[in-house]
């Protein structure tokens, strides 16, 4: 057992803990006001789903949470986002360190043009999380198992990650993201390139990951949001319209816009 696991167990005991707290977040892309005064509280060991029509700012908000928006020149973020009570946009915070704690899986699978093993080992390697080759092997195997990919690739770990099928690549990217043992995992439409079987596997995985991480998932599938998440946030035209327990949002939404989106009238 290494030290992350003990940390995890402690964190797991502390259920319903507040993980991320965003208040009054505004994002501008140049003149485009993409996100308007969004405030959300994201809890630990919970799957939170972001839904909403295309272009409403779901991805933008997700990228605020690990400061990936910093890499876009014209993007400006205002407001306060606290991770475990600390402002992540504070001057003293190193975005590189932050991204090691807040992992991300993208809509399109983006494995590096390296071997499967190296893809998964890359994060732990640059952060110096392992001390020996055997420890690294363990981390790689554990991550691939969690991502439901181990059985398919265990005999060909040295083959390039780009040679896998689209669905396998996406699970490889998930394995790569969880190998660094993040505290929060952000997933931007992780299933949009997957077939129903792989989607079911990933959904199962997300449910499992909940025990160790706080998961935030963007999805266009209402069914998926209803299946995997405990909390749901509905975005519309850059604003957060409604946020609450998934069961409430889907059965008893308070805002008429939420209702019409869920029933398929806008979006």
């Amino acid at each position: 057992m290494n030290m992350y696991d003990t940390e995890r167990t402690e964190a797991a005991l502390d259920v319903k803990n507040l993980k991320i707290s965003a208040t009054g977040v505004n994002v501008h892309y140049g003149q485009n006001h993409a996100l308007k005064d969004v405030s959300v509280q994201i809890q630990d060991n919970t799957v939170t789903a972001f839904i909403g029509p295309s272009g409403c700012g779901k991805s933008t908000f997700l990228r605020c949470l690990n400061r990936m928006n910093d890499t876009i020149d014209i993007c400006r973020v205002d407001g306060e986002i606290l991770l475990d009570g600390r402002d992540i946009y504070d001057k003293g915070v190193d975005p590189v360190q932050l991204r090691a704690r807040v992992g991300m899986v993208f809509q399109k699978p983006n494995p590096f043009p390296k071997s499967i093993y190296e893809n998964v080992a890359y994060g732990p390697k640059i952060h110096g999380l392992t001390r020996s080759k055997s420890e690294m092997d363990q981390v790689v195997e554990r991550s691939l198992r969690k991502a439901a990919l181990w059985n398919e690739v265990k005999d060909r770990l040295q083959e390039p990650g780009t040679a896998l099928s689209g669905g396998q690549q996406q699970r490889l990217c998930i394995a790569r993201a969880i190998a660094t043992s993040p505290e929060v995992l952000l997933m931007d439409e992780p299933c949009s390139a997957l077939d129903p079987i792989a989607t079911a596997q990933v959904e199962e995985l997300i449910d499992e990951l909940r025990s160790s991480f706080s998961v935030v998932i963007v999805t266009h599938s209402m069914q998926q949001a209803a299946r995997v998440s405990q909390k749901t946030a509905f975005f519309h035209l850059g604003s957060l319209v409604e946020y609450g327990d998934t069961s409430t949002i889907f059965t008893n939404p308070t805002d008429p816009r939420t209702e019409s989106y869920i029933t398929g009238r806008i979006g």
Binding site: V96, F106, R176
Partner: protein, 458 residues
């Protein structure tokens, strides 16, 4: 007269155009239902006249000189030409031609004057014949085109297929020119190898292409060993790449990932200017700036430095290749999908780590392709080395020594009075052949690598 022929040609084509246009219009006005627009009928006639007549003119103009010369030469008195080789015969023909042009030196022989007369006459006849044939061809084509005009004639497709054939011809021309160049190279090289055995050329370690001009002259027999010359090319190429690869890659990486947009917008155009500098100017730079600087440097450290060093030429050639490699590497890096970069950054990699571990490896095939193309440019580069490298071939890899290169030797072998049947001159073709083969192999490799890499991300 030639100008007149070309005017005639265009006039004929335009006449054919209007003729067919009118004919088609009158069919339409008479209630006929034309398949093609009237302008297509005109276009069809235009092309049908223009192309055959144009081809005829080109053929005539390119062959009339040879034919006339042959005729004149055959009519020379047999006692003068008997036993003459092609060289003196050519001199005689040149003299006749200049007499025909009105330039006489001294009092030429009777028979030369007569031949000059014949030459002038033949030329005039040829011109008239050309115009006559041209007229006949134009008239024939106009007739054929005009007869085709009818309501059902598909002039639209007809004109299109003529243009189509024309384009096929253009691409075939490019291929044939290539084949022709290679063939002439191969042919002359073959002649060279009949005089100097190929193994002496390929494995020889002495390069002294001087051949005694007079029988009794004391001079080297002439040695044609490729190795010292090629070694010079290699030394300079290696020096150039030692400079160009790090500087080029470094600037590409910096510009691509780390530079602010403002800095990039200034430096990129500067690099492009550097790429546009003529190689002669680089040559000046090597001779006037780098070489003296090296000499001063050498004197202060007590190093023996030759006036024309491989180092000076190599350094300047390296700088010439910097923008080349830099822009290739920049393109290769930009072609790496943004998602890979985001993936690495999202794992908590710094920008430097992202560049070194992800972007650069992903771009390596493209970069290697660019570097190989740069190598083949360095090997074939002529002007800088002609100005800055030496002339004497030495078996050395000392960059402070004077070396010569394949291209320099080709230039010096072909400069001045040359006759194309001595091994000295022909050896230039063998050297050219070596250059051609080496760069061909490198380019094939480079293009393959670049292609393979494109397949991954497109």
């Amino acid at each position: 007269m030639t100008l007149f022929a070309f005017l005639l040609l265009f006039a004929g084509a335009i006449f054919a155009y209007t003729l067919n246009l009118r004919a088609a219009q009158s069919i339409r006005n008479g209630g006929g239902n034309l398949h093609s627009l009237t302008s297509f009928h005109g276009m069809y006639a235009f092309l049908l006249v223009l192309i055959p007549a144009f081809v005829f003119l080109l053929v005539w103009l390119s062959f009339q000189g040879t034919v006339i010369n042959a005729l004149v030469q055959r009519s020379l008195p047999a006692d003068v030409t008997a036993g003459l080789e092609s060289g003196p015969l050519q001199l005689i023909m040149a003299e006749i031609a200049s007499i025909a042009g009105g330039r006489m030196f001294g009092t030429p022989d009777e028979w030369k004057l007569a031949a000059a007369d014949r030459l002038v006459n033949l030329r005039v006849t040829s011109q008239w014949l050309m115009v006559a044939f041209l007229l006949a061809i134009i008239a024939g084509c106009i007739y054929v085109a005009r007869k085709r005009v009818s309501a059902t004639f598909r002039a639209r497709q007809g004109a299109e297929s003529i243009v189509h054939a024309l384009m096929v011809f253009c691409s075939v021309v490019a291929v044939f020119v290539t084949i022709g160049i290679v063939a002439s190279l191969v042919f002359e090289t073959f002649r060279f190898f009949q005089m100097v055995p190929w193994y002496e050329f390929v494995f020889g370690t002495v390069w002294e292409p001087q051949i005694p001009i007079r029988e009794d002259q004391i001079a080297a027999e002439g040695a044609f060993g490729l190795i010292p010359v090629f070694l010079g090319t290699l030394v300079i190429t290696v020096i150039a790449m030692i400079i160009a690869i790090p500087v080029g890659l470094g600037s590409a990486i910096f510009l691509n990932e780390f530079a602010s947009p403002r800095f990039r917008s200034i430096v990129k155009p500067v690099l492009e200017v550097l790429a546009g500098v003529p190689t002669v100017v680089y040559g000046f730079f090597a001779v006037l700036t780098i070489a003296p600087a090296l000499r001063v440097f050498g004197e202060t450290w007590g190093l023996p430095i030759a006036p024309n060093t491989a180092l000076a030429a190599g350094i300047v050639m390296g700088f010439m290749l910097v923008p080349f490699i830099s822009s290739f590497a920049d393109d290769a890096l930009s072609a790496v999908p943004r998602s890979l970069r985001d993936g690495a950054l999202a794992l908590g990699a710094t920008r430097g780590e992202t560049m070194m571990n992800v972007l650069f490896p992903a771009a390596i095939p493209g970069i290697v392709g660019g570097v190989l193309l740069a190598v083949s440019r360095a090997i074939g580069e002529t002007m800088i080395v002609v100005m800055a490298a030496g002339l004497i071939a030495k078996m050395t890899i000392n960059p402070l020594d004077s070396v010569t290169t394949v291209t320099v030797q080709i230039v010096t072998l072909l400069i001045g009075d040359t006759s194309f049947d001595s091994p000295k001159t022909l050896s230039a073709f063998a050297l050219g052949m070596v250059l051609f083969l080496v760069t061909l192999v490198i380019n094939i490799f480079a293009i393959r690598i670049v292609r393979k890499y494109r397949e991954i991300y497109d």
